[in-house]
Amino acid sequence: MSEDLKDLLIEEAASAFRERDSRGRILPSPAWWDLPAEGRDALFTRQLEGRLIERALDPKGLSQTVRAVLSRLR
Protein backbone atom coordinates (compact mmCIF):
# COMPACT_ATOMS: atom_id res chain seq x y z
CA MET A 1 0.00 0.00 0.00
CA SER A 2 1.39 3.43 -0.94
CA GLU A 3 2.00 6.00 1.80
CA ASP A 4 -0.45 8.41 0.13
CA LEU A 5 -3.25 5.85 0.13
CA LYS A 6 -2.51 4.90 3.73
CA ASP A 7 -2.62 8.57 4.71
CA LEU A 8 -6.04 8.99 3.08
CA LEU A 9 -7.42 5.88 4.79
CA ILE A 10 -6.11 7.10 8.15
CA GLU A 11 -7.70 10.50 7.59
CA GLU A 12 -11.02 8.92 6.59
CA ALA A 13 -11.06 6.76 9.74
CA ALA A 14 -9.94 9.68 11.93
CA SER A 15 -13.41 11.24 11.60
CA ALA A 16 -15.79 10.85 14.56
CA PHE A 17 -18.59 9.85 12.19
CA ARG A 18 -19.57 6.19 12.44
CA GLU A 19 -22.43 4.38 10.72
CA ARG A 20 -24.93 2.37 12.80
CA ASP A 21 -26.53 -0.94 11.95
CA SER A 22 -30.28 -1.56 12.11
CA ARG A 23 -30.00 -2.33 15.86
CA GLY A 24 -28.15 0.91 16.57
CA ARG A 25 -24.77 -0.74 17.03
CA ILE A 26 -21.84 1.55 16.16
CA LEU A 27 -19.85 0.17 13.21
CA PRO A 28 -16.10 0.47 12.56
CA SER A 29 -15.08 2.84 9.77
CA PRO A 30 -14.79 0.99 6.42
CA ALA A 31 -11.33 2.60 6.08
CA TRP A 32 -10.25 1.01 9.38
CA TRP A 33 -10.67 -2.47 7.89
CA ASP A 34 -8.36 -1.58 5.00
CA LEU A 35 -5.52 -0.32 7.22
CA PRO A 36 -2.49 -2.51 7.96
CA ALA A 37 -1.42 -2.93 11.62
CA GLU A 38 1.05 -0.02 11.64
CA GLY A 39 -1.56 2.15 9.90
CA ARG A 40 -3.95 1.45 12.79
CA ASP A 41 -1.28 2.60 15.23
CA ALA A 42 -0.89 5.81 13.23
CA LEU A 43 -4.67 6.23 13.19
CA PHE A 44 -4.77 6.02 16.99
CA THR A 45 -2.31 8.93 17.23
CA ARG A 46 -4.13 10.97 14.59
CA GLN A 47 -7.47 10.49 16.35
CA LEU A 48 -5.94 11.69 19.63
CA GLU A 49 -4.40 14.76 17.99
CA GLY A 50 -7.58 15.40 16.03
CA ARG A 51 -9.76 15.42 19.14
CA LEU A 52 -7.36 17.81 20.84
CA ILE A 53 -7.61 20.21 17.88
CA GLU A 54 -11.42 19.91 17.75
CA ARG A 55 -11.64 20.66 21.46
CA ALA A 56 -9.42 23.71 21.04
CA LEU A 57 -11.54 25.15 18.23
CA ASP A 58 -14.99 24.35 19.62
CA PRO A 59 -16.78 27.22 21.42
CA LYS A 60 -17.69 24.85 24.27
CA GLY A 61 -14.42 22.92 24.22
CA LEU A 62 -16.10 19.71 23.01
CA SER A 63 -14.59 17.25 20.53
CA GLN A 64 -16.62 15.80 17.67
CA THR A 65 -16.67 12.47 19.51
CA VAL A 66 -18.41 14.13 22.45
CA ARG A 67 -20.83 15.86 20.07
CA ALA A 68 -21.57 12.56 18.29
CA VAL A 69 -22.37 10.92 21.65
CA LEU A 70 -24.48 13.87 22.83
CA SER A 71 -26.64 13.56 19.71
CA ARG A 72 -27.37 9.92 20.68
CA LEU A 73 -28.32 10.35 24.33
CA ARG A 74 -31.82 9.25 25.27
Partner: protein, 195 residues
Protein backbone atom coordinates in the same frame (compact mmCIF):
# COMPACT_ATOMS: atom_id res chain seq x y z
CA UNK B 1 -4.65 22.85 37.57
CA UNK B 2 -3.92 20.50 40.49
CA UNK B 3 -4.92 16.88 40.03
CA UNK B 4 -7.15 16.90 43.14
CA UNK B 5 -9.10 19.90 41.86
CA UNK B 6 -9.50 18.24 38.46
CA UNK B 7 -10.79 15.08 40.11
CA UNK B 8 -13.28 17.13 42.18
CA UNK B 9 -14.55 18.92 39.05
CA UNK B 10 -14.89 15.60 37.29
CA UNK B 11 -16.98 14.00 40.03
CA UNK B 12 -19.08 17.16 40.45
CA UNK B 13 -19.94 17.04 36.71
CA UNK B 14 -20.80 13.33 36.95
CA UNK B 15 -23.05 13.93 39.98
CA UNK B 16 -24.95 16.62 38.03
CA UNK B 17 -25.27 14.25 35.07
CA UNK B 18 -27.03 11.79 37.38
CA UNK B 19 -29.99 14.17 37.50
CA UNK B 20 -30.17 14.19 33.69
CA UNK B 21 -28.07 17.32 33.11
CA UNK B 22 -26.69 16.77 29.57
CA UNK B 23 -24.42 19.82 29.69
CA UNK B 24 -22.77 18.46 32.82
CA UNK B 25 -22.37 15.07 31.12
CA UNK B 26 -20.80 16.82 28.09
CA UNK B 27 -18.38 18.55 30.46
CA UNK B 28 -17.59 15.22 32.11
CA UNK B 29 -16.99 13.57 28.71
CA UNK B 30 -14.68 16.45 27.76
CA UNK B 31 -12.52 15.70 30.80
CA UNK B 32 -12.40 11.90 30.41
CA UNK B 33 -12.15 11.48 26.64
CA UNK B 34 -8.37 11.89 26.28
CA UNK B 35 -7.36 9.70 29.28
CA UNK B 36 -9.93 7.10 28.18
CA UNK B 37 -8.49 7.08 24.66
CA UNK B 38 -4.93 6.80 25.99
CA UNK B 39 -5.95 3.79 28.08
CA UNK B 40 -6.97 1.98 24.87
CA UNK B 41 -3.71 2.42 22.94
CA UNK B 42 -2.80 -1.29 23.14
CA UNK B 43 -6.11 -2.20 21.47
CA UNK B 44 -5.57 0.08 18.45
CA UNK B 45 -4.56 -2.74 16.10
CA UNK B 46 -7.53 -4.92 17.01
CA UNK B 47 -10.45 -2.51 17.34
CA UNK B 48 -11.62 0.80 15.91
CA UNK B 49 -10.97 2.85 19.07
CA UNK B 50 -13.50 5.51 17.99
CA UNK B 51 -16.27 2.89 18.20
CA UNK B 52 -15.09 1.81 21.65
CA UNK B 53 -14.97 5.39 22.96
CA UNK B 54 -18.45 6.30 21.70
CA UNK B 55 -20.00 3.07 23.02
CA UNK B 56 -18.26 3.51 26.39
CA UNK B 57 -19.49 7.09 26.78
CA UNK B 58 -23.04 6.01 25.90
CA UNK B 59 -22.86 3.25 28.53
CA UNK B 60 -21.54 5.76 31.09
CA UNK B 61 -24.63 7.89 30.47
CA UNK B 62 -26.75 4.86 31.42
CA UNK B 63 -24.58 4.36 34.52
CA UNK B 64 -25.03 8.03 35.45
CA UNK B 65 -28.82 7.76 35.06
CA UNK B 66 -29.12 4.53 37.06
CA UNK B 67 -30.23 5.37 40.62
CA UNK B 68 -29.08 1.92 41.82
CA UNK B 69 -25.46 2.68 40.96
CA UNK B 70 -23.15 4.79 43.06
CA UNK B 71 -19.49 5.49 42.20
CA UNK B 72 -17.49 6.58 45.24
CA UNK B 73 -13.95 7.92 45.66
CA UNK B 74 -11.53 10.25 43.89
CA UNK B 75 -11.74 9.92 40.12
CA UNK B 76 -14.20 7.03 40.52
CA UNK B 77 -16.19 7.83 37.38
CA UNK B 78 -13.04 7.95 35.21
CA UNK B 79 -11.68 4.72 36.68
CA UNK B 80 -15.03 3.06 36.03
CA UNK B 81 -15.15 4.44 32.46
CA UNK B 82 -11.69 2.99 31.78
CA UNK B 83 -12.88 -0.44 32.92
CA UNK B 84 -16.02 -0.18 30.80
CA UNK B 85 -13.83 0.89 27.85
CA UNK B 86 -11.63 -2.14 28.24
CA UNK B 87 -14.67 -4.44 28.37
CA UNK B 88 -16.14 -2.84 25.26
CA UNK B 89 -12.78 -3.25 23.48
CA UNK B 90 -12.75 -6.99 24.31
CA UNK B 91 -16.35 -7.33 23.09
CA UNK B 92 -15.45 -5.62 19.79
CA UNK B 93 -12.38 -7.82 19.35
CA UNK B 94 -14.41 -10.98 19.82
CA UNK B 95 -17.28 -9.79 17.61
CA UNK B 96 -14.94 -9.23 14.67
CA UNK B 97 -12.48 -12.02 15.55
CA UNK B 98 -9.52 -9.66 15.79
CA UNK B 99 -7.86 -11.29 18.84
CA UNK B 100 -4.91 -12.40 16.68
CA UNK B 101 -3.93 -8.71 16.27
CA UNK B 102 -2.89 -8.29 19.92
CA UNK B 103 -1.34 -10.28 22.75
CA UNK B 104 -4.33 -11.06 25.00
CA UNK B 105 -2.15 -12.07 27.97
CA UNK B 106 -0.50 -8.65 27.93
CA UNK B 107 -3.84 -6.85 27.62
CA UNK B 108 -5.35 -8.72 30.56
CA UNK B 109 -2.48 -7.75 32.84
CA UNK B 110 -2.18 -4.10 31.82
CA UNK B 111 -2.22 -1.56 34.66
CA UNK B 112 -4.92 1.12 34.53
CA UNK B 113 -2.37 3.82 33.66
CA UNK B 114 -2.89 7.53 34.18
CA UNK B 115 -6.38 8.29 35.39
CA UNK B 116 -6.22 12.05 35.82
CA UNK B 117 -9.04 13.93 34.08
CA UNK B 118 -7.88 16.20 31.29
CA UNK B 119 -9.77 19.50 30.90
CA UNK B 120 -9.10 21.74 27.83
CA UNK B 121 -5.93 23.89 27.94
CA UNK B 122 -6.64 27.58 26.98
CA UNK B 123 -2.99 28.33 25.98
CA UNK B 124 -2.91 25.33 23.65
CA UNK B 125 -6.29 26.34 22.21
CA UNK B 126 -4.92 29.84 21.43
CA UNK B 127 -1.86 28.43 19.64
CA UNK B 128 -4.00 26.04 17.57
CA UNK B 129 -6.42 28.83 16.60
CA UNK B 130 -3.57 31.10 15.50
CA UNK B 131 -1.95 28.34 13.44
CA UNK B 132 -5.31 27.43 11.84
CA UNK B 133 -5.71 31.03 10.66
CA UNK B 134 -2.33 30.85 8.88
CA UNK B 135 -3.17 27.79 6.79
CA UNK B 136 -3.65 28.17 3.00
CA UNK B 137 -7.32 28.58 2.06
CA UNK B 138 -8.23 25.11 0.73
CA UNK B 139 -6.58 23.05 3.50
CA UNK B 140 -8.04 25.46 6.11
CA UNK B 141 -11.56 25.13 4.65
CA UNK B 142 -11.32 21.32 4.64
CA UNK B 143 -9.88 20.97 8.15
CA UNK B 144 -12.31 23.54 9.51
CA UNK B 145 -15.25 21.62 8.00
CA UNK B 146 -14.00 18.38 9.60
CA UNK B 147 -13.27 20.02 12.95
CA UNK B 148 -16.74 21.56 13.19
CA UNK B 149 -18.69 18.79 11.47
CA UNK B 150 -16.66 15.70 12.30
CA UNK B 151 -19.66 13.79 13.56
CA UNK B 152 -21.20 14.06 10.05
CA UNK B 153 -20.22 11.92 7.02
CA UNK B 154 -17.27 13.28 5.03
CA UNK B 155 -19.39 13.37 1.86
CA UNK B 156 -21.56 16.04 3.55
CA UNK B 157 -18.60 18.03 4.86
CA UNK B 158 -16.82 17.84 1.49
CA UNK B 159 -19.94 18.95 -0.39
CA UNK B 160 -20.32 21.84 2.06
CA UNK B 161 -16.95 23.27 0.98
CA UNK B 162 -17.38 22.37 -2.72
CA UNK B 163 -14.82 19.53 -2.82
CA UNK B 164 -14.87 15.90 -3.87
CA UNK B 165 -14.32 13.53 -0.94
CA UNK B 166 -10.83 12.53 -2.11
CA UNK B 167 -9.73 16.17 -2.52
CA UNK B 168 -11.28 16.97 0.84
CA UNK B 169 -9.25 14.22 2.55
CA UNK B 170 -6.04 15.25 0.74
CA UNK B 171 -6.55 18.83 1.95
CA UNK B 172 -7.05 17.69 5.54
CA UNK B 173 -3.85 15.62 5.40
CA UNK B 174 -1.97 18.68 4.13
CA UNK B 175 -3.61 20.96 6.71
CA UNK B 176 -2.64 18.68 9.59
CA UNK B 177 0.97 18.58 8.40
CA UNK B 178 1.17 22.39 8.11
CA UNK B 179 -0.61 22.88 11.43
CA UNK B 180 1.84 20.56 13.21
CA UNK B 181 4.80 22.45 11.67
CA UNK B 182 3.34 25.82 12.77
CA UNK B 183 2.77 24.53 16.32
CA UNK B 184 6.28 23.10 16.50
CA UNK B 185 7.72 26.52 15.58
CA UNK B 186 5.87 27.81 18.66
CA UNK B 187 7.29 25.06 20.81
CA UNK B 188 4.06 23.05 20.90
CA UNK B 189 4.49 19.33 20.18
CA UNK B 190 1.12 17.59 20.13
CA UNK B 191 2.75 14.16 20.40
CA UNK B 192 4.47 15.10 23.65
CA UNK B 193 1.28 16.59 25.12
CA UNK B 194 -0.57 13.37 24.42
CA UNK B 195 2.11 10.92 25.51
Amino acid sequence: MANELRADLLEAAFRLARSGDREAFAEWMGMVEIPLRRSLSRFARAVDVEVVIQETLLRMWLVARDPQRSLEGAGASLKFAIRVGRNVAFEEMRRYRQERMVDLTTLDSLPEGRVEPDPPDPALARAIKECMERLPEQPRKALSARVHGGSLPDRENAAGVGMKVNTFLQNIVRARRLLAQCLERRGVHLGEILS
